[in-house]
């Protein structure tokens, strides 16, 4: 668990973060969103003591971080930044193993961990001997994520990690990190200004503006009841209802039984994807199938429109 209590940080007398309190539960995928310069990166960097707050208290696993040696704290927290920040004079493999080597793991431990990470992040083993400049942006960031996970930290901080990537690499890495989170008990704190990315990944969400916490809660709860006009505007204003559909899987509104519709949709897809398919096929119902293509039931346009109870 990470807890910030009444944290304030000024840069040259300009407040960056003001009286900020937040609790991040263990195992959550917590996304901090807000416009550029709202202080979200400052909050993130205070958690691993890269920035020291002027006032207030930060606890990680119930321990005040001021009582921990900064290097020791940081070696236990994964960290990914937008530009990957790989060491240009080290190969991809050496970059990934930076923290295990700082922690003086044995060569065999390192080798075993490298194999596990290569499998986990589906890294092409041929890339391991290359230098960062020989890798594409997406490949570099994949190595950057592997480096953050190398020593198997409980907490991973990610500062707009996928913002500079092309859409294909971005979605692939988002899926990867979501899957890794689902399979582990890791706490991920993720900073982004991209609302779609936030909703796609978050189990918990905090909206920030001007150094203050405006609203925090589950993504759906915030979408259904934005605290003020700023949050409503930032969440997408008029698109709010469509964004909500993105959070609900087809499974929730599916009617089991015989299915007659021609078009099929997979059971794990979102209502937004279902609506999109209906619009594309000009139909009002879809046949729901499982991963193997077996028919499970049907979903109707009317149910999506009257979906209130599903959220």
């Amino acid at each position: 668990m990470i807890e910030l209590r009444n944290v304030t940080k000024n840069f040259a007398a300009v407040p960056a973060v003001f009286d900020f309190s937040l609790k991040i539960e263990s195992g959550s995928f917590f996304v901090l969103v807000g416009p550029s310069g709202c202080g979200k990166s400052t909050v993130l960097r205070m958690i691993n003591a890269m920035i020291v707050p002027d006032k207030g208290q930060i606890e990680v696993h119930g321990q005040d971080i001021r009582a921990i040696e900064p290097e020791k704290l940081r070696r236990g927290i994964g960290y990914v930044i937008q530009s990957a920040g790989l060491f240009p004079h080290w190969t991809a493999a050496d970059n990934i193993l930076a923290v295990p080597r700082l922690l003086k793991w044995s060569a065999s431990q390192c080798a075993a961990r490298l194999d596990a990470l290569v499998a986990l992040l589906r890294i092409d083993p041929a890339l391991l001997s290359r230098y960062p400049r020989q890798l594409s942006g997406g490949q570099q960031q994949r190595i950057g994520v592997a480096r953050a996970l190398a020593a198997d930290p409980d907490i991973v901080l990610m500062d707009e990690p996928f913002a500079a990537l092309d859409p294909v690499s971005r979605v692939a890495l988002q899926d990867e990190i979501r899957a890794i989170h689902a399979r582990s008990a890791k706490t991920i704190v993720f900073v982004t200004h991209d609302m779609d990315e936030a909703l796609r990944l978050a189990t918990g969400l905090a909206v920030m503006n001007n150094g203050r916490l405006i609203q925090t809660g589950a993504p759906a709860a915030i979408l259904l009841a934005p605290a003020d006009e700023f949050v409503r505007g930032f969440l997408g204003g008029d698109d709010l209802q469509l964004r909500l559909l993105d959070l609900v899987p087809v499974r929730k509104l599916m009617k089991q039984g015989k299915a007659t519709a021609a078009a099929t949709i997979i059971v794990g897809a979102s209502l937004k994807e279902a609506l999109n398919l209906m619009l594309a096929r000009r139909c009002s119902s879809l046949c729901v199938v499982d991963e193997n293509g077996a028919r499970l039931g049907e979903i109707h346009l009317n149910d999506i429109i009257a979906r209130r109870d599903a959220i």
């Binding site: 960097r45 691993n48 890269m50 290097e71 020791k72 704290l73 940081r74 070696r75 994964g78 960290y79 930044i81 530009s83 990957a84 920040g85 790989l86 060491f87 240009p88 004079h89 930076a98 923290v99 700082l102 230098y131 480096r147 953050a148």
Partner: protein, 387 residues
């Protein structure tokens, strides 16, 4: 135009034209009654026929090589042609001098003329150009260099040059040449090491305390503007005073003249380029890389050793290269205040109006500088390999 061969290397063609022009206009050897007398200039065409023909054939070869297609083929052709020019002018000068000496007195001096020096320069420039364009690897470069050195030494050992004034001056100073060469290297080495030992902490100071940067660079900049002879001279008085006041220094052999003020002056000159390049190199290490290193748990020492030093290494080596080459040149002036070194021959030569003796000091200084450049280029190549 299909019959017209295509020109592939303008540099080579230009070099060969320069060679032709100087063969037809300048003197190859200069024969004088003694060191002071104005001599008679002889052209290459008066030199022994085989050697002169070899040099001319080499020049033609160079011109033809500039039309050869393919970098590697052209490089080989160029090196062969340049070797011919070098052998022709070296052997030509040596054998020609032997013939001229038979007629002259023991005091007579046969000096190398403009044509010789230009031909030798053309050949060496052509070789350097060929080695670079041919993209030869490090071992190949060393082999080519060693082959030419071995050829030169073999000719010298065979006595080919014995009658040239340069060689006769060398035989006069043979006994002290090696010791002055070592002295010169000692001055340079001591100054560079001292500059490193002062420059490294100074760099750290400038990096840590930004306010100090202006003051440090301004002070070191003032030293750079003092002419070298003036600085060597200026140091004599305070160093003499110091050694008079402190017997310990005197016992260590430190006084107003000699190596101590020379090393001090060379060190002072080295500090600005050294600290400037160290400062630039270390402050240009990408911020995001340092940020990432801190964020995943590197402490300051680990960051310096594992990240900052290797990434700044090329800049550090470039700084050392500049400083070393500068010190090799400046150390010649140190002879004026009794520090010895190769400058001794230069100033003796100037005093005695013996230009060949001047060359005995100047040529090794140039060769040392070229050698230092080669060594640092090689190290730089290694340091940049993975960046």
């Amino acid at each position: 135009m299909a019959l017209m061969p295509k020109l592939h290397d303008r540099v080579l063609l230009t070099l060969s034209f320069v060679g032709f022009a100087v063969v037809f206009s300048g003197g190859f050897l200069n024969d004088a009654q003694n060191r002071l007398a104005k001599g008679v200039a002889y052209s290459l065409f008066q030199a022994p026929a085989y050697e002169a023909a070899a040099a001319m054939a080499g020049l033609c070869g160079l011109a033809l090589a500039s039309f050869v297609w393919g970098e590697r083929h052209r490089a080989f052709a160029t090196i062969l042609a340049a070797a011919l020019i070098l052998w022709g002018s070296l052997a030509g000068a040596g054998h020609f001098a032997a013939i001229l000496m038979q007629a002259g007195t023991p005091a007579a001096r046969t000096s190398l003329g403009l044509t010789f020096w230009i031909l030798a320069s053309v050949a060496i420039l052509a070789i350097v150009d060929a080695v670079q364009r041919g993209n030869f690897g490090f071992p190949a470069r060393v082999c080519i260099g060693a082959a030419f050195c071995a050829g030169f030494l073999a000719m010298a050992a065979a006595g080919d040059f014995d009658h040239l004034a340069l060689a006769r001056e060398f035989s006069n100073i043979k006994g002290i040449f090696a010791s002055e060469l070592w002295r010169h290297l000692g001055l340079v080495g001591a100054a560079v090491i001292a500059a490193l030992m002062i420059g490294a902490p100074l760099t750290v100071l400038v990096l840590r305390k930004k306010a100090m940067a202006g003051f440090v660079f301004a002070s070191l900049g003032i030293v750079q503007t003092i002419p070298s002879i003036a600085l060597f001279g200026v140091l004599i008085a305070p160093m003499t005073k110091l050694s008079e006041e402190l017997p310990l220094l005197r016992e260590l052999g430190i006084n107003g003249t000699g190596p101590a003020p020379a090393i001090l002056a060379l060190t002072l000159y080295s500090l600005l380029p050294l600290v400037r390049s160290f400062h630039t190199g270390l402050s240009e290490v990408a911020l995001e890389v340092k940020d990432a290193a801190t964020a995943i748990g590197f402490d300051a020492r680990q960051m310096f050793i594992a990240v900052e030093l290797p990434l700044a290494l090329p800049a550090l080596l470039s700084g050392l290269r500049v400083v070393t080459i500068q010190a090799i040149g400046l150390a010649s002036v140190a002879a004026l205040i009794g520090a010895g070194g190769l400058g001794t021959f230069i100033f003796q030569g100037i005093g005695q109006y013996a230009l060949d003796l001047v060359l005995m000091g100047a040529l090794p200084v140039i060769l040392l500088a070229l050698l230092a450049n080669f060594v640092f280029e090689t190290l730089l190549g290694l340091a940049r390999r993975n960046l």
